[in-house]
């Protein structure tokens, strides 16, 4: 176990280093001149040159990358070109909102996805099953900006049940969480359905029924824990899905998280922010996968990590 963890940590660090290198190259190749961008349209050539020198933008590529890495090791993500603020602070100030949204989305996808999956499994091959599975298919395949705008239009604009975007109260959270969670709910319902059907066929379920346990006792005490296993492994991977989802969902709902930060930075080619958000998301995804791998053997002792 210890050796496995160490190996995975080293592996993860290498992945992150690779990602930082690739992102840096890509952003370096963009034909926009950051010094000119900071200087603005009225600047003299002298001003532009001064800025270039002060930021080290006149250095060769490998030196710039090395400077960035050195800063990174000291926890310094640089200063935004246009926001004029430490990137670390920008991300830190927006992280709570994003984590909250992700928590809401996980609750939504588990609640909706698992319920749909279980009901579909119990009503296998009926009209209920079919319609639930069609619904889950819609959830999986609809683009999030469409779902988001639809929910916003129906529940906020027309019915007035929820605020039109924004952040602060529980009511602000419902629609964005739902939008972000629906995609996952679609996946979970399909996985839960097949996993449940699989488990219900097993001998120990028949034994449990035979020894006189109630139907709900069998379902929640024996079938669910076993059916949940493959689903849990998914939650770690979910973080990757969320990371792409938050950019869209946060922009639609005006949610002040790092997805919105990334979107604004991309539109304005604010390279330090794009770089910072990419690294933080990569870190989250790597961490998510890592944790998912660690959790599975705790739930299922049959799986051993080597």
């Amino acid at each position: 176990m210890g050796g496995y963890v160490l190996r995975r940590v080293l592996q993860s660090l290498l992945i992150l280093l690779g990602i930082s290198f690739l992102t840096f190259i890509l952003l370096y190749l963009i034909p926009a001149d950051p010094a000119r961008q900071i200087a603005g349209r009225s600047a003299t050539a002298q001003t532009v040159e001064n800025i270039r020198e002060q930021l080290g933008l006149n250095l060769p590529f490998y030196q710039q990358y090395f400077r960035y890495l050195t800063g990174l090791l000291q926890g310094d993500l640089g200063r935004s070109y246009l926001q004029k603020t430490e990137v670390g602070e920008l991300i830190r100030s927006r992280l709570p909102a994003t984590l909250l949204l992700m928590a809401g989305a996980i609750i939504c996808e588990l609640a909706i996805g698992l319920t749909m999956g279980i009901v579909a499994a119990l009503r296998r091959n009926t009209a209920t099953d079919t319609s639930l599975m069609v619904l889950s298919f819609v959830g999986v395949s609809s683009p999030q900006f469409v779902i988001g705008i639809l929910l916003l239009y129906v529940f906020s604009v027309q019915l007035g049940w929820f605020p039109i975007g924004g952040y602060g109260t529980f009511r602000h959270m419902v629609l964005p969480s739902l939008t972000l969670g629906l995609l996952g709910a679609g996946w979970y319902s399909r996985m839960m359905r097949s996993s449940m059907i699989d488990v219900l066929r097993q001998d120990f379920i028949r034994t449990a029924r035979a020894k006189g346990l109630k139907r709900w006792q069998v379902l929640f005490g024996h079938a669910m824990p076993n059916a949940l296993l493959p689903v849990i492994a998914m939650i770690g991977i979910d973080i990757g899905l969320f990371m792409s989802g938050i950019v869209v969902v946060e922009s639609v709902f005006g949610w002040p998280g790092i997805g919105q930060l990334a979107w604004q930075a991309i539109q304005r080619v604010d390279i330090p922010i794009i770089m910072g958000v990419t690294l933080v998301s990569a870190f989250a995804i790597v961490l998510g996968n890592f944790l998912a791998d660690l959790i599975v053997p705790l739930i299922d002792p049959r799986i051993k990590l080597r």
Binding site: A39, A45, N50, I164, P256
Partner: protein
């Protein structure tokens, strides 16, 4: 044209209506909510240079000069009075006494000197440093050889003398732009690079709260020296809201002003709704949208080809594409700018004559070229209309839709972008003076690598005329100076360095609970809204 004149007339009327006697009748108090899409970048007046923070900075800080609300007329701000020497090279400003910064300290002439030294210091990285080029000693400071401007001297605590190295008729305007706002040294040194997040000025409002990515709260400066200003107790700026969401919230009474304006997609719907019709405010802008033709890249080196492009573009149709939110242009200057030539007719839409001109230039069979354009709506659609117009006279233009920074970078190279549609990046004047529409975008100084003169048009004769015009500093020469500028811009059109397409009109909305003259909601200088003079009806 008519609409612009009307809007201009309305602005004038509104401004005269805001005489102090009447303004005093309005009770102070109340609050409003203004929404924006992007987070505010910085509130440091030496750095801030965008749509959102421009007017916020004006509310937090004061400079020596300002403009009458809703107009382009200069008025004294922190300067109680000023004198200009006969040669136009020495400005002596007398400061108001008793003006206090938000930290309670009195503002003196030392602060004026410090602020000008700071904004021109290369370490500050101010995008506006170049505006101060006429102050004596600027070159030494810009090069890092001096810490202080030789031309700025503190005569006594309430008098500051500014010497120029050359006569500069625009200097009072320069003293009115945000970059010359007065900042207190101790606060700048305390916060360093983060001064823009913790601004301390002497303006009508002070910053009360800033939650990154969410909201800013401005609180009324009770000690503000101008009596009866500002009207509101508090302004909340909510950021991160798409314009369409902002509009919906306004319609539901949750917000008062959509800072980014009415989104184009919703424009017709709102404009035709009787419920909202009266809440929409239209105003002119010191803006021109144009197509540049790089005179260094054949065949645009031939004036006939550039004229042909001018004649080929159907400007009326392009104005229709953007739902009439603009007026067609025939010259670089916008109609509300001094020096605009109302008699000039420009190049009329005439594809046949355009074809004849192409034949004259030896490219009668047409040619292939590229049209660079900023990739956000409506710019690609406008580019397509231009593409179709050009195709009609045999010019095959391939559209290159790119991110803003990339188009700007391409324009700043001598051999990269043969044509650029300026939309979304186009020139909005920094101050209401014609010279601001020449130097950086049509003069030789802008035709350098990384410059904004994307036509690379450089006419030394016109440059000399421009310098001469800006040397007419005597107020009695105002008309003569305007005439000089008028001739310069018409000469630019004779060479057809640009194809001017339209002047954008600005449309915004206010909630029913807000009062104030229409002109301050589309203020030509306090862009987008002059917050200091907005009042709340619910406290009257």
């Amino acid at each position: 044209m008519n609409r612009t004149l009307l809007a201009g007339a309305a602005a004038l009327l509104a401004a005269t209506a805001l005489t102090p006697a009447q303004a005093d009748d309005i009770k102070q108090g109340g609050s409003m909510i203004v929404t924006y899409k992007d987070d505010v970048s910085t509130l440091d007046p030496a750095i801030g240079y965008d749509w959102q923070n421009w007017s916020m900075i004006k509310s937090l800080f004061d400079g020596l000069m300002d403009y009458e609300p809703g107009t382009t007329n200069l008025m004294n701000d922190l300067a109680e009075d000023y004198t200009i020497s006969d040669d136009g090279k020495v400005f002596t400003f007398k400061l108001r006494e008793g003006v206090k910064f938000h930290n309670g300290r009195e503002l003196t002439a030392e602060d004026v000197k410090y602020s000008l030294d700071r904004v021109t210091n290369p370490e500050t990285q101010s995008p506006g440093a170049g505006f101060f080029g006429s102050i004596k000693g600027f070159d030494a400071v810009a090069a890092g050889d001096a810490d202080s401007l030789e031309g700025v001297t503190v005569v006594d605590p309430y008098t500051v003398k500014i010497e120029l190295s050359r006569p500069d008729a625009t200097f009072l305007h320069v003293m009115a732009i945000n970059f010359s706002s007065i900042v207190p040294k101790e606060a700048v040194e305390e916060w360093g690079a983060d001064f823009g997040k913790h601004p301390v000025g002497s303006g009508a409002f002070s910053l009360e709260e800033w939650t990154l990515g969410q909201r800013l709260v401005f609180k009324r400066n009770d000690d503000y020296w101008r009596a009866g200003v500002p009207k509101l107790d508090e302004i909340t700026f909510e950021v991160g809201q798409e314009p369409i969401v902002a509009l919906l919230r306004l319609q539901r009474g949750e917000a008062d002003i959509p800072g980014d304006g009415i989104p184009p997609a919703k424009f017709l719907e709102v404009a035709e709704d009787p419920q909202y019709k009266d809440l929409i405010i239209e105003g002119g802008q010191l803006h021109t949208g144009y197509v540049t033709m790089n005179v260094k890249m054949p065949p645009f080196d031939k004036p006939e080809v550039r004229k042909a492009v001018n004649m080929a573009i159907n400007k009326d149709r392009i104005v229709r594409i953007i739902n009439g939110r603009a007026v067609p242009a025939n010259q670089p200057l916008p109609p509300t700018m001094p020096g605009y030539d109302t008699n000039y007719e420009g190049y009329a839409y005439d594809p046949e004559a355009a074809k004849a001109l192409l034949a004259e230039a030896g490219v009668g069979d047409g040619f292939e070229t590229e049209l660079y354009v900023y990739n956000t709506d409506p710019n690609p659609r406008i580019a397509q209309a231009i593409q179709a117009d050009l195709a009609a006279i045999g010019i095959k233009a391939e559209i290159k839709a790119l991110a803003q920074a990339n188009v700007i970078a391409a324009g700043g190279e001598p051999d990269q972008a043969p044509m650029i549609w300026s939309g979304g990046m186009a020139w909005i004047a920094d101050f209401p003076d014609p010279s601001n529409f020449y130097g950086p975008i049509l003069g030789c100084a802008g035709a350098v690598k990384g410059g904004w003169n994307w036509s690379w048009y450089c006419n030394e004769e016109l440059d000399a005329l421009a310098t001469a015009a800006d040397s007419m500093t005597d107020p009695s020469q105002k008309a003569e100076r305007e005439e000089a500028w008028r001739k310069i811009f018409i000469a630019v059109m004779d060479d057809a360095a640009w194809a001017p397409v339209f002047h954008e009109q600005r449309f915004t909305m206010r909630s029913e609970r807000l009062g104030g003259p229409d002109a301050i909601f589309v203020d030509p200088v306090h862009i987008p809204v002059n917050y200091d003079y907005v009042w709340a009806k619910d406290v009257q």
